[in-house]
């Protein structure tokens, strides 16, 4: 268990680092962003809301840096991330609450699926090195070089239209009210297929390549030769001996590249106008909505850390050596 404990300490440290970055960066913004917001809100803001923004942006000149830092931490613990400029007068935490489920549903499911399918395909291609399957490698290289959002643009241009089954934007029909009934769920699935497919295609390619290379390396290990010599079936050697060992670096690679993949998938949301965090981030950038940007950065970072932790737990289950040490 000491392995997990070490990882938890690391993630807490990283979360603290992200929060600290979030604390210092706004202090570099030139001018007075809060004043700009107050002007824009035409006096509709309460004094408390103004005060909370001043704490977030470090414009509380009377307090020392340490005092500012601790009042900032206290505010975060209460879940107070300030007010959003774009969605005024909603607080940032409420805006994030609206966007997060969509992002988790779309990005979460497709990222995991992409990893599983890509790894399975890579296993097969790596095992049959030198057969027709090798021809897939240049194709996957090309696909993995395409930015996610561009593939989404192409998918919209080719597959959507006035009489197409696939809608070009949104997460559900405008006329529907979010209810857990069949019609609504059907609409959500219909709107989700195209963005999900885009993310799947572009994220899969990388996993195919890395798994293929690991399989090729592992295939010449002694234990694989021994397994063959024992007369085990080819399938059993591939899955139980080669793939099981080749999988480990891929799982840790998955954990490490999550931050990057999530960045790419947020772009898909922008292209499809999918109402998740990515679209909100886009709007926040356009409107220079600093509190929302910071809130999104924080929530994405924390989600990625959590996902990393889950990948570590999976690694623990897959590799008995990590368990023995504890």
């Amino acid at each position: 268990m000491s392995y997990l404990l070490k990882r938890i300490v690391f993630y807490v440290f990283t979360a603290w680092a992200a929060i600290t970055i979030n604390f210092f960066i706004p202090r570099a913004i030139p001018g007075d962003p809060v004043q700009a917001l107050i002007t824009r809100s035409r006096g509709q803001m309460t004094t408390e809301a103004v005060q909370s923004l001043y704490v977030l942006f470090g414009l509380d000149k009377d307090a020392s840096l340490a005092e500012q830092y601790f009042s900032y931490l206290g505010q975060l613990l209460r879940g107070d991330l300030g007010l959003s400029f774009t969605y005024f007068p909603s607080p940032v935490s409420q805006v994030l609450g609206d966007g997060l489920p969509w992002t988790l549903g779309l990005v979460g499911i497709t990222t995991v699926l992409g990893f599983l399918i890509g790894t399975a395909l890579g296993t097969g291609i790596g095992w049959r090195r030198g057969s027709w399957a090798d021809a897939l490698i240049p194709v996957t290289t090309f696909v993995s070089s395409i930015p996610y959002f561009w593939l989404g643009l192409i998918a919209i241009a080719l597959l959507t239209g006035p009489d197409s089954f696939f809608p070009a934007s949104g997460a559900y029909d405008n006329g529907l009210v979010p209810n857990p009934d069949l019609e609504f769920i059907g609409s959500v699935v219909q709107h989700g297929i195209l963005p999900a497919f885009t993310i799947l295609v572009s994220s899969m390619a990388g996993w195919i390549l890395s798994m293929r290379n690991m399989m090729v390396t592992v295939a010449s290990e002694d234990y694989v030769t021994v397994a063959h010599a024992k007369g085990l079936s080819d399938r059993r050697v591939m899955v139980g001996y080669a793939a099981r060992n080749a999988l480990l670096p891929n799982v840790s690679g998955f954990a490490l590249s999550l931050g990057f993949i999530v960045g790419g998938t947020l772009l898909v949301e922008i292209v499809f106008s999918y109402p998740g965090l990515g679209l909100q981030l886009f709007q926040a950038v356009g409107a220079k909505d600093y509190p929302l940007m910071q809130g999104i950065f924080l929530i994405i970072t924390l989600s990625v850390l959590l996902a990393n932790f889950l990948a570590d737990v999976a690694y623990l289950a897959l590799d008995p050596r990590t368990r023995r040490e504890g």
Binding site: F13, R129, S145, A168, G263
Partner: protein, 330 residues
Amino acid sequence: MTVVPTTGTATPVAAPVKRRRLRFVANPKATTGLVILGFFALVAIIGPWIAPYDPSGRSNDLLQGPSAAHWFGTTHLGQDIFSQVVVGTRSVIVVGFIAGIVATILSVLVGVTSGYLGGAGSELLSALSNVFLVLPALPLMIIITSTLPETSTLTIALVIGLTSWAWGARVLRAQTLSLRGRDYVEAARATGEKTWRIILFEILPNLTAVIASGFVGTVIFAVTLEITLAFIGIGAGGDWNWGTVLYWAQSQQALAQGAWWWFVPAGLAIALLGTALSLVNFGIDEFVSPRLRGGGKTNVKTADGHTVRMRVGFTPVLATKAGPEGRETP
């Protein structure tokens, strides 16, 4: 401990056979990649001179498809898209390479130091690179660049370079850790070589391939990130790059108007550049680890009609029909 009296002969092994130069270029993947890369580099240099129009210059040909006058069509303001893509190449290449160089220098410093020196400082550097590795790059870049008072191509390149060294540092640290225990490094240490000399002349030459592949990887990453940032509207002021073209295509509803020519060329250019860099990286990987090369033809037909699949580390025994021991074919 006995000191072996072989002073002076513990220099790096001089290869008795002269190594073939340019072995790397002989790899077809690497060659293809380098040729495409060379093409883009050329366009980056001469782009502004060969572009037929001013990329921002308006004309009366509004939103027209590809034609002889406008190879890639025009935008809603009548700007020539071919010129935008050609002129934009420079910014893409410059950001890719500056960010790649900055990140590579940082990753070598952090990775090799923490791998070779060991101790608490090493653990700290390793933890630092892990932190940078798990922080999601795109949102981090967005909040950094949006607070900068003004962004030019150079600042974007520097910010990308300063935030994307972690992956290379991690790989280099692992490699250095395995190298520092090797006999020849121990030998150098035993003969009293200075630490900086061991790192520079014993460790670094053996990391060349890893550093090169890390550099190429960072260039891919930086190019994608720059284009992504430009696509969402955070970019270098007035400079054109492929992301800016896509940004205007997206914000002017090019898709809804059926103006496919507006976003297809820039996207293909990105994919082509990315593929070229990946091919160079495969070339490096295969150069270092020959196993990764495609196996050629591995299914061999035997005389009696069986098919045997050749595999690394696996020697198929072909039994003849009437072998002396009378073994049966499986």
